[in-house]
Symmetry: C2
């Protein structure tokens, strides 16, 4: 059996879950409380981060980017990185954009402060970080909306890992009620399309003890 | 002509320069003062980071990871990512380790505080960050030494992007005199091997106005 060590609201875990589902690869999820720094887990993944994928054959694959590149090479039937060199450059650029810049400017400031800090028992959210997060989210929604308006999908004519990476981050923020979709109609319409894919179902049924997502979170006609 | 927008002491730029040289791909370097946020540069790479590669045919490739994946696909003759799926997983894991964890715990605290802050006119190094950087570097040199002791190269039997990524970060730190090589003999010996490759020459002749690297920086028998 294939296992994925994950956290329900980790955008990086969500990205890998979407890719596995798009490629029709069954997986058993195991929640890993990374802040406990379990020795057995650090032996699998010395970086101590989620996600980590364990393949049927025992191969251990840590880091969401490494996992996605591996899945693309091992299971190329549903390609998610584009076909031509130029397409692959644009898909990977946007993956780096959302996993790097968006994560640092938005996800870390909002999810990190509101959720991860609480889970790890590291105190209350920092007000300045939250403010930066909301400002960043507004800018990023505009950029995302511009991409969605000028292209069929974020990286071009076909749905790709760029869409799933962006949607993974936004879905986690949407769970904690932080996305004001009225800020960008094109971003809203793009997200509605990604969200209605069968691969998204697992994410929409995620629940966390003591947390209730807003009503629109799992609603496909939000 | 192929161009690389870079900064001489950016580990990410150095990694790409090493890969280009290993693959015998000529390139013209253009220093980009990213802190000035030039509009023309932001049009090439909206993230505003270095490096950005411009190919002969005009293709623009931003982000060192995207560039390295592209170069591997476009110029596969000198493979640097490994051959089997398992090898590629280990090479990419270590690339993510050095570009992610090492960068955050060491490069950002030392290079970021001592060099980038000064270049960008953002004041003096923060003492707590420097302390964390030196502690982190000690741990990372031990891990690197352990890898170098148990394997021929960092990711296994052949030299790979893992070695060039680690060496790119360490070479930039070595330039500012921050690496105490006596902390790990195996790490020292591994670095001496990487450093003596022809692809490394360009890095060893880099000079920055107002900065003198320590004497051993360019010495192959350091």
């Amino acid at each position: 059996m294939r296992y994925l060590y994950h956290l329900p609201l980790s955008p990086y875990s969500r990205k890998v879950r979407l890719v596995l589902a798009e490629k029709h690869l069954p997986v058993e999820l195991r929640a890993e409380k990374v802040w406990e720094r379990r020795v057995e887990y650090l032996e699998l993944n010395p970086a101590g981060t989620v996600p980590t994928l364990i393949e049927d054959n025992g191969l251990v694959i840590a880091d969401s980017n490494v996992i996605c590149e591996y899945l693309e090479e091992a299971y190329p039937d549903t390609p998610l990185l584009g076909r031509t060199l130029a397409e692959r450059v644009e898909v990977r650029r946007l993956v780096a954009w959302f996993d790097g810049k968006f994560a640092q400017e938005v996800s870390r400031n909002l999810l990190g402060e509101k959720l991860m800090k609480r889970l790890a028992g590291r105190g209350n959210p920092d007000a300045a970080a939250l403010r930066m997060g909301y400002v960043g989210l507004r800018h990023h929604l505009q950029y995302l909306g511009w991409l969605a308006e000028t292209r069929k999908w974020l990286a071009g004519g076909t749905i790709s890992l760029a869409d799933f990476t962006a949607a993974a981050h936004l879905s986690a923020l949407d769970f904690i009620g932080d996305v004001d979709w009225s800020l960008s109609q094109p971003a809203h319409d793009w997200y509605a399309q990604v969200k209605s894919r069968p691969s998204f179902r697992g994410l929409l049924t995620d629940r966390m003890p003591g947390m209730t997502p807003p009503e629109h979170y799992a609603d496909l006609d939000f």
